[in-house]
């Protein structure tokens, strides 16, 4: 565990155009482990909802007889939530507005999820 590295990673993620917050969460209990977010983003809610989505996705993949998820992208009309698995049970999560560069954000999250140790 290296919180300084985590914070650097979160800051870089929030530097992507359109990103309004980045968190490291524990998917087991839906709690925030580390965060960097703009004011107004309810990071505790993000953590709980992202963890619930991860749980649902794991069950879906089990029903499909495929491996457990490594990432989730929820894209909606006014924004998106992206989550990438780190070492269990940690996930790196980003919340972005509708104008975010989702392709770049996805790759960045994937790179940084690897440093969550």
């Amino acid at each position: 565990m290296n919180p300084a590295v985590w914070q650097d990673a979160l800051r870089e993620v929030t530097g992507v155009t359109g990103v309004i917050g980045a968190l490291i969460i524990s998917a087991d209990d839906g709690l925030v482990v580390a965060e960097t977010a703009m004011e107004g983003l309810a990071t505790a809610d993000v953590a709980a909802l992202a963890a619930a989505l991860v749980t649902r996705a794991v069950r879906c993949n089990a029903a499909m007889q495929v491996a457990i998820p490594s990432s989730l992208h929820l894209v909606a009309t006014a924004g998106a939530l992206l989550a990438v698995a780190g070492p269990s049970p940690l996930w790196m999560v980003a919340v972005a507005g509708p104008d975010a560069e989702l392709g770049r954000l996805r790759l960045l999250l994937r790179d940084f999820a690897g440093v969550l140790r």
Binding site: L49, V66, V75
Partner: protein, 250 residues
């Protein structure tokens, strides 16, 4: 058989009849090979490799219907049987149904991601598709299409996860409805608006979930090698077709 996507003989599991049947098949003695395979199946009625052998014999005899039935029987015995997937891909390829061939090979690749023969066959199938084919969509009501339409009560409306059977599709519909509800809840509570799509990436698969209406959603499952943009383009077309279908039957 064609050498384009040749169904391969499985590594022997030590059963003499499999080796004998395979040797007879390779010599072109199909009737004798079939007799051996059927006799073996009499002793081992749940052995996927025996059905696979019988299917390859039938395919060599030009009886694609019987071959398809035997490969489906192999999958019922062993859902991850790569030879059966390759065989079904071969039959589809021979019928010039390139989408189905690709789909079967993608399923084979999910079970054998490091099998070079599967990867080569997949490349081959993709390379011979006409230019317009990458956007072609198998019908979503086909249980083997990898598309599943379900309602928000978790009931399967059409399609399936693969051709593993109705039970798998029903179980996935139940889980898919939970996933759809959770995605809608997260989007609403976080002020993200209405869900456009949810993509799940896994080491061996990519899945897209798109709402089709207020009461229904579509899941599209493909191999991990499919680019995300193409997955979403296919899913969007599938969702549109599903919406039209629901309107017709509604």
């Amino acid at each position: 058989m064609s050498d384009v996507i040749e169904p391969s003989a499985p590594a022997s599991r030590g059963l003499a009849f499999l080796e004998l049947g395979e040797r007879l098949r390779q010599r072109g003695q199909f009737a004798a090979a079939a007799t051996v395979a059927l006799a073996g199946l009499g002793h081992y009625p749940a052995l996927a490799d025996a059905y696979d052998l019988l299917a390859r014999i039938r395919a060599d005899q030009g009886d694609d219907g019987a071959a398809t039935n035997a490969w489906h029987a192999a999958l019922e015995c062993e859902a991850t049987h790569v030879g059966a997937r390759k065989g079904l891909a071969f039959v589809a390829f021979r019928a010039r149904d390139f989408i189905a061939a690709e789909r079967q090979l993608e399923l084979a690749a999910m079970n054998a991601p490091h099998d070079p023969s599967v990867a080569a066959a997949l490349d081959r199938v993709r390379s011979v598709q006409p230019a317009a084919m990458p956007d072609a969509l198998p019908h979503f009501t086909d249980p083997a299409s990898g598309m599943l339409l379900y309602d928000m009560q978790g009931m399967r409306l059409a399609g399936g996860a693969d051709d593993a059977g109705e039970g798998t599709g029903d179980a996935l519909a139940a889980e898919g409805a939970g996933l759809s509800r959770e995605a809608a809840r997260a989007a609403r509570l976080l002020g993200l608006g209405t869900v456009r799509h949810l993509v799940i990436e896994a080491p061996d698969a990519r899945v897209a979930m798109l709402p089709v209406s207020a009461d229904a959603a579509l899941l599209l499952q493909r191999g991990a090698g499919m680019p995300l943009g193409r997955l979403l383009a296919l899913a969007t077309r599938g969702a549109q077709a599903a919406a039209d279908w629901l309107e017709r039957i509604g």
